[in-house]
């Protein structure tokens, strides 16, 4: 199926970004997911976010694990290197890739099986390292490629297509991320592109590990009556906690709003995450407040940028690595040479 070629015709009136590229230049090959899959909406939002940010396609690295969600990096930015790795191991691959070259933009796409079961350990440790990347979980509460098993994000009582109810408590990636010290935590809904695009842009501009849990209904296995990850259920329980907009570095100068609980967060690259609505007594820089808010709204799908901290050093800063990619350092800088070796040999006498 992926051999289906997408017609590459751009309308001359399509607008261009700072690099002179149209949004078509940020597309990839044709999706082979089921018609109506939430993941395709996320792909569209990612495409738009990257185009709007004018990320040079070759400076993007797209990584994924295994599963329906992990197929999606083929569907955007064809001019970027992609790495469809092994089930659950994407954070580890991304860690190594990022260690070798910090100049690229890293975007990982994962699913709830990939991130919350087989690869949960790697996800946790990528957060601890504050790996500089955007990590998107396309969360549908179900194993799609193997046809409908519950995942670790399935809610208690949520029903499978065959009517069986899940009995085990779910793992919420947002609460997990907040408790493990992730530095950018957000949730959104694949059906709300208005909200999702600025969140993705902010996540991409964040210095450190940005995790965005996107509820993304599975039209084939998890969009029925009794499911808590269906379009209908999510629309009904969707609670927008924060509303925000993303202002690029070269954009308008934004005055501090200064209202209680409201804030502008200046991202590391100079862009601004402008919160246009934050609930009273909710501070987006307060991890505990975010956790408290989530507890208070159990049973609802709380969305928005829930926590941001731009002050924590990311992996390279912790390791004091140079700006230039480690893989590109000239050999002369890496090899101490025969003279040093001869000197060193005296220590082993």
């Amino acid at each position: 199926m992926p051999s289906i070629v997408k017609p590459l015709v751009s309308h001359p009136s399509l607008s261009r970004n700072e690099l002179g590229l149209t949004i078509r230049d940020y597309e990839g090959s044709m999706s082979t997911l089921c018609a109506g899959c939430g993941h395709d909406s996320i792909t569209a939002a990612i495409t738009r976010a990257l185009w709007e940010l004018s990320t040079p396609p070759h400076m993007l690295a797209k990584l994924s694990g295994i599963g329906c969600s992990s197929k999606t990096p083929t569907y955007f930015v064809g001019g970027a290197h992609g790495f469809n790795s092994a089930h659950g191991r994407m954070p580890a691959i991304a860690t190594g890739a990022n260690a070798a070259n910090r100049e690229l933009t890293y975007l990982g796409v994962s699913g709830d099986g990939d991130s919350l079961s087989i690869g949960i350990g790697h996800l946790c440790h990528a957060m601890r390292r504050n790996l500089n990347m955007l990590y998107v979980i396309e969360n549908n509460g179900v194993y799609g490629l193997t046809k409908g098993q519950f995942s670790a994000s399935s809610d208690v009582g949520s029903k499978s297509k065959k009517g069986e109810a899940n009995k085990m408590s779910p793992i919420d990636p947002v609460q997990l991320a907040l408790s493990l010290g992730a530095t950018f935590v957000a949730r959104s809904f694949s059906g709300d592109k208005q909200q999702l695009v600025p969140i993705l842009k902010a996540g991409l501009s964040h210095r450190g590990f940005a995790i965005v849990d996107v509820i993304s209904p599975c039209v084939t296995f998890n969009d029925h009556e009794g499911s808590t990850k269906s379009y209908k259920y999510t629309r009904g329980k969707h609670l927008v906690a924060t509303e925000s907009d993303f202002v690029p570095p070269s954009g308008e100068i934004v005055a501090e709003i200064g209202q209680v609980g409201q804030t502008n967060v200046t991202m590391h690259d100079g862009s601004v995450l402008r919160f246009t609505r934050v609930p009273e007594n909710y501070d987006v820089s307060d991890r505990q407040a975010a956790l408290k808010y989530l507890r208070e709204h159990q049973g609802e799908v709380v969305t928005g940028v829930l926590f941001v901290d731009e002050s924590v050093p990311e992996m390279h800063e912790m390791n004091n690595t140079p700006q230039a990619p480690l893989g590109s350092l000239p050999f002369e800088k890496l090899c101490p040479g025969s003279g040093e070796l001869a000197k060193l040999m005296e220590d082993f006498r």
């Binding site: 040079p56 893989g327 590109s328």
Partner: protein
């Protein structure tokens, strides 16, 4: 009894965590500096404090330094193992014990000479702190050995000076303890013993180094910049060494930045994932591990093999299966590494025999990994990795430049009409790769799922098979690029003896003895897989070959039978796998049990 100069073995039985390692190291290093061929083997438990640990030292004027197995002098400092230790002394040998307490009659042997030194009493009388009393007992023992074995006192003094030069109190304690031991034996016993040391000049171009340190240094010299690992015995000191050398040599003189990244992973799954990610992105990356780690890495090793991404794995082998015996040595991971992961895979293995080869092979691993775009294993083991070996000084050729393999530049990509990842060119089975961040024309989707030669996803039988067949060709091509076997021929030899890795000194010694017995054999030490052409030739040239290796199942034998045309009945396994470094006696015990078969040839 006639005196034996520079030809004996001693064994020190201790309790671990009491500071015995530092005293053992002192004696070993002093003998090394006296220019005498020497080896030290640490037989230690998987424990921090309280369990039995032994240290063996063998000196030999001809340079035979594999384990001896019978001991001229036993230093019995551990009541837990005393009974067994006494039994290991050769008839007519000596046993040094702490005479602060009476020796149980049960432990006395008529044919052994006893040297009682009141170590605990002397140390209690001369040192105040409880911890110091324990530590200095070992140093006092070393003092006794200086006199008994005729160790050069000036050399020892200099070593203590170098080690504790700035720490006055410690230096004085050590000097005092050494004197206590030395004075006591000089006053009470005939010194030196009939076997003892005399200065030689055998070590002028040699160093004393362990294989893990040499491996780490090789990784620095080979230009590795990303190292990912999970702590595991006996590989941990590879990364400790790498870190130390990087701190020394890789701090950017202009910016102060670290021109390296060491990532302590959450597990070995992640460690190899990080190596693959970093290599995919153009860095020379490696991990250091042992068998249990390789077990976990199997999944992603298959990905690296199939997606053709370089990866270097340092496997310091220990005893398996499962947790096995983490502080004992074996060559039990050959099959695991050669065919790691599900599906059809074959990996490149380099098999060093000593620290010098660890240093030499480490950069080679990176060269081969990048040239053939595939995982490469350095198959070290605990004996090589953690014991100090007397080995030739390491040398570096400044003309060396890393072989980064076929990697397309932005300019080359610009000129191409279209780039396809797995399309080989110029008669080689290797296809050019591209790195992220270089040019969007080089972009492709790296995947472990079925792919065709263009890099596209496929489930079409012919397309899948075409790629798999090329991978096999690539592996065969590597046989011409790996280190050749070491071959030593003997006049009249019709039988061969094949070995690998750290078995080398024991096998060579055994072959000398066999030659003296009128049974000359040719020697071949295999240094890599895929097997070099010369391996096949050697097999073909001999009536049959013994294969000496340290595992139960004859893993090297299996690989030779699988991967060369040799017939199974020409392979005679000699398997010694109980976990200690090999002795020539281990080999001879097996061969002499097959003496009839041998005599049929050498009659």
């Amino acid at each position: 009894m006639r005196s034996r100069i520079n030809d004996f073995a001693i064994k020190l039985a201790n309790v671990n965590g009491t500071g015995s390692a530092s005293a053992n190291g002192l004696i070993m290093q002093a003998i090394f500096r006296m220019g005498v061929p020497v080896s030290g083997k640490n037989l230690f438990p998987s424990n921090i404090q309280g369990l039995p640990t032994w240290y063996e030292i063998r000196v030999n004027p001809k340079g035979y330094t594999a384990r001896a197995l019978d001991y001229d002098l036993m230093i019995a400092m551990n009541a837990q193992t005393y009974k067994r230790d006494v039994q290991e002394v050769r008839s007519g040998g000596y046993l040094l014990y702490d005479s602060s307490w009476p020796l149980d009659d049960e432990l006395l042997r008529d044919d052994v000479n006893y040297i009682g030194v009141p170590l605990a009493r002397m140390c209690n009388e001369n040192f105040r702190e409880p911890r110091e009393r324990i530590l200095m007992k070992n140093i006092a023992t070393a003092g006794a050995l200086i006199e008994l074995l005729n160790i050069d006192g000036a050399v020892v003094e200099k070593l203590v000076e170098e080690k504790y030069g700035r720490k006055k109190a410690l230096r004085e304690s050590n000097q005092k303890a050494l004197k206590l031991g030395a004075d006591y034996v000089r006053e009470h016993f005939q010194c030196p013993l009939d076997f003892h040391l005399e200065t030689m000049q055998a070590n002028d171009d040699k160093i004393l180094i362990d294989g893990n340190t040499a491996t780490a240094l090789g990784c620095v010299y080979g230009g590795a910049t990303v190292a990912a690992w999970y702590p595991i015995t006996p590989a941990t000191s590879v990364m400790d060494g790498f870190k130390e050398f990087c701190e020394q040599y890789r701090k950017d003189p202009e910016t102060g930045a670290n021109n390296f990244a060491i990532l302590q992973a959450e597990d070995e799954l992640a460690a190899i994932g990080m190596v693959i990610g970093a290599s995919w992105n153009g860095a020379r990356a490696f991990t250091s591990t042992a068998g249990p780690g390789v077990s976990l890495m199997n999944e992603l090793l298959g990905l690296a093999y199939y997606a053709e991404i370089p990866a270097v794995v340092i496997d310091v082998q220990r005893v398996g299966p499962s947790t096995g015996m983490p502080t004992r040595t074996q060559q039990g991971d050959l099959l695991e590494c050669a065919y790691a992961s599900h599906g059809d895979t074959k990996h490149i293995l380099l098999i060093p025999a000593n620290p010098s080869e660890c240093f030499e092979f480490a950069p080679k691993c990176f060269d081969l990994a990048e040239r053939f775009q595939t995982p490469v294993f350095l198959m070290s083991d605990l004996d090589i990795g953690m014991n100090d070996w007397v080995t030739p000084k390491l040398h570096w050729d400044d003309a060396y430049r890393p072989d980064r393999g076929k990697v397309l530049t932005a300019a080359q990509l610009e000129e191409l009409p279209k780039y396809f990842r797995y399309l080989p060119q110029n008669g080689s089975a290797v296809a050019a790769r591209t790195l992220p961040g270089v040019h969007s024309k080089g972009a492709f989707f790296t995947r472990g799922s079925g792919h065709n030669k263009f890099g596209g996803y496929t489930e079409i039988p012919d397309e899948y098979q075409e790629v798999m067949d090329r991978l096999l060709l690539k592996h065969k091509e590597a046989a011409g690029a790996v280190p050749e076997p070491v071959i030593i021929r003997r006049e009249g030899a019709r039988v061969g003896m094949i070995t690998i890795g750290g078995c080398d000194p024991a096998v060579r010694e055994a072959l000398d003895i066999l030659e003296d017995m009128g049974r000359p054999m040719d020697f071949m030490r295999i240094r890599a897989f895929p097997f070099h052409q010369k391996v096949e030739e050697f097999l073909a040239e001999h009536d049959y070959c013994y294969v000496v290796e340290q595992n139960r199942d004859g893993q090297l034998c299996s690989m030779l039978i699988l991967e060369t045309p040799v017939s199974k009945d020409k392979i005679r396994p000699v398997l010694i796998y109980s976990g200690y470094p090999l002795s020539a006696k281990n080999v001879l015990d097996v061969i002499t049990s097959k003496v009839e078969e041998l005599d049929a040839i050498y009659r």
